[in-house]
């Protein structure tokens, strides 16, 4: 069945709610409205307002009360309406949610999922197109994952709900309405903390996640027309990082490129570059290159298509890498 990522997430959440009475959804406008992106459409009607909760407007309140609910044995799935709205909740996420298992010597388990639509490319106003993944990936105690297609969205949201650690679940909003095949029970999904090779190649490894994955695949297609074989890895999980899959690939290709929308400096590409050079130093034919947003605030939407890294910049970087 071919469905959009929004519908896949909706189906995944419906299944999570049906499977476990302790699962709750909470967030701004997620009930009657079904969320501004309609990810939770119809779920309040189906499961009631005690399980699909229209919260007051307050992100610290959403995450802070989710912690309290988890302390009482619930598994809350929070929706933060847009990436740029998560910052009021940062104390609750970083200082409380991420640390309580450790502080309690493992007595406290907080299975809280925080869903955040992230990234740009939808012509939106400011604070609606940001890529905050590194703030969370840098925090011990959090898992940070992102899906790039409807099947992963369906599988990974359920895996995130089932997981006993707090999970920051990043949804690439510009691909919300992209359709893809989604199968249900028959397959055993890849664990959500594992990367996946989406396209095999031999000349270079192109690593992407979330919103950049479709561009990475497109770039690999274009490169193939010029006789260059590019392997594409969808990282899926930023924390923990599936370094084995990355190493194995770069070991073979000798070249690595990392693409993300987030700004260059101190971005996730820096972590990958450091890991790759440390582990595969003697096998590298070229420096690890990064194709990213710039070190600026996210631009006005009229500029975003040029500002965002895309297929052309990936191909330029590939040329650069192959020139060594």
């Amino acid at each position: 069945m071919s469905i959009s990522m929004v519908k896949a997430l909706n189906n995944g959440l419906r299944k999570a709610l049906a499977d476990d009475p302790k699962v709750l959804l909470m967030g701004e406008d997620i009930g009657r409205l079904g969320g501004v992106f309609r990810v939770t459409d119809g779920l309040q009607k189906e499961f009631g307002s005690l399980r699909v909760i229209d919260t007051p407007l307050g992100e610290a309140g959403i995450v802070g009360s989710a912690i309290g609910l988890a302390l009482r044995g619930y598994r809350p799935v929070c929706e933060i309406q847009f990436d740029g709205f998560v910052y009021p909740a940062v104390n609750q996420i970083i200082s409380q949610l991420a640390k309580l298992r450790h502080r309690s010597g493992g007595v406290i388990t907080l299975p809280v999922v925080i869903r955040i639509p992230f990234g740009g490319g939808i012509g939106s106003i400011e604070h609606h197109s940001e890529s905050p993944e590194v703030y969370f990936a840098h925090t011990a105690g959090l898992k940070v994952v992102t899906c790039s297609n409807p099947q992963d969205a369906y599988d990974m949201i359920r895996q995130a709900v089932d997981d006993d650690d707090p999970v920051i679940f990043l949804e690439p909003k510009r691909h919300y309405w992209t359709k893809g095949e989604v199968t249900d029970e028959t397959s055993t999904p890849t664990p959500f903390d594992r990367a996946r090779v989406l396209r095999a190649g031999t000349d270079a490894t192109l690593i992407a996640y979330g919103p950049m994955v479709p561009a990475a695949l497109e770039a690999a297609d274009a490169a193939a027309e010029e006789g260059r074989s590019v392997e594409v890895i969808d990282l899926r999980s930023l924390s923990p990082l599936d370094l084995d899959t990355v190493r194995e690939s770069v070991h073979r290709t000798g070249r690595a490129l990392v693409a993300h929308e987030a700004s260059l400096s101190h971005g996730f590409g820096a972590e990958l570059a450091a890991r790759i050079q440390q582990e595969e130093f003697h096998f590298l034919e070229a420096p690890v290159l990064r194709i990213t947003g710039y070190d600026t605030p996210y631009p006005p939407s009229r500029l975003e298509s040029d500002w965002l890294p895309g297929v052309d910049r990936i191909l330029d970087a590939l040329d650069h890498s192959l020139s060594y």
Binding site: G68, G73, Q96, R103, G105, L241, L243
Partner: protein, 389 residues
Amino acid sequence: MPRKQAKPTAGAEPADGPIQFLSPDGLLEPDSRLELPPAVDLLALYRDMALVRRLDTEAIALQRQGELGLWPSLRGQEAAQVGAAYALAEQDMVFPTYREHGVAWCRGLDPVSLLGLFRGSTLGGWNPYERRFGLYTLVIGAQTLHAVGYGMGLVRDDVVGSGDDTRDTAVLVFLGDGALSEGETNEAFLWAAAQNLPVVFFCQNNQWAISAPYSVQSRVPVAQRAAGFGFPGVSVDGNDVLACLAATREALTRARSGGGPTLIEAVTYRINAHTTADDATRYRPSAETDEWAAKDPLERLRLHLTASGGVGDTGGVGEEYFADIERREQELAEHLRAGCRALPVPDHASSFENTYADMPAELKRQLAEHSEFLASGFLAAGQEIGATR
């Protein structure tokens, strides 16, 4: 020229003053606004307040001796904490700040477990589910939202307003006057009100948020704030253990029965500095401390107990009672001293463990690296980095 502002209402006192049963002179009188709690064991209340004070005094001494890195003293707030704690039902859940040693004591925690956080031997110290007493929260106000979420859970568990006293449950969350300025506290008030949650907010207004007096935090009295959120606020003499107990009991009973949240302001005073690392002489006059010392919560109950006709009209309490407390204090002090020194230095692996439910591969690698480094003896225990090798 800016218009002259009206003088803010004095920090704590509404027009008719906080509710008080027991005056600083030890006189017990009714207050028309609240019922005096029936069948209260005054002897037990005094004993627990005395032991809690000793716990605090002993912890300060341990800090002075270098056994603790820091200690936030509760001196002066014993009545507020013990009174509030006596109102709890076993099934109720408590979310403390980092100064609720008296509540922890009444909840039955081993007081040694309170020392670990301040000795640097743990980041927690106790199982919050065992005595229904949450871990200390150092970020001001953050715990108010955890209380709200827990209350949401109680509603969903159908243990609010069922009419069964053994099941119905409430949440008691502690905060200070400084926390009232935090956005998270105000969100918690709002959420609790909008959802009519079984949460009692117990604010110990000890007049000082480190160096900031209450006038820095607010232009209205604490209890008055509740009205804006849509639930009752009550102000009690925080040095009167009976007023604190009565107000908390009433609020918790209402909460358990589905009557929603309450904000209690216990007007009290932080006799000591913010912590052992603070110097209160830099920002407040000693005359103020002296004034509050004269309103001491223990002394007034002692006066009441020793006055003829003090307890149950049987005449004043005798020497034996106080001698027994002194004996228990000594035992407690010895237990704290020995227990503190016996707190184990945690294994280095514990820094890595329980970061996640299952340790990720990268963290395992780092732990192995760290273990190997330590085992190499390259850096002897206690030796500083950069010291002569």
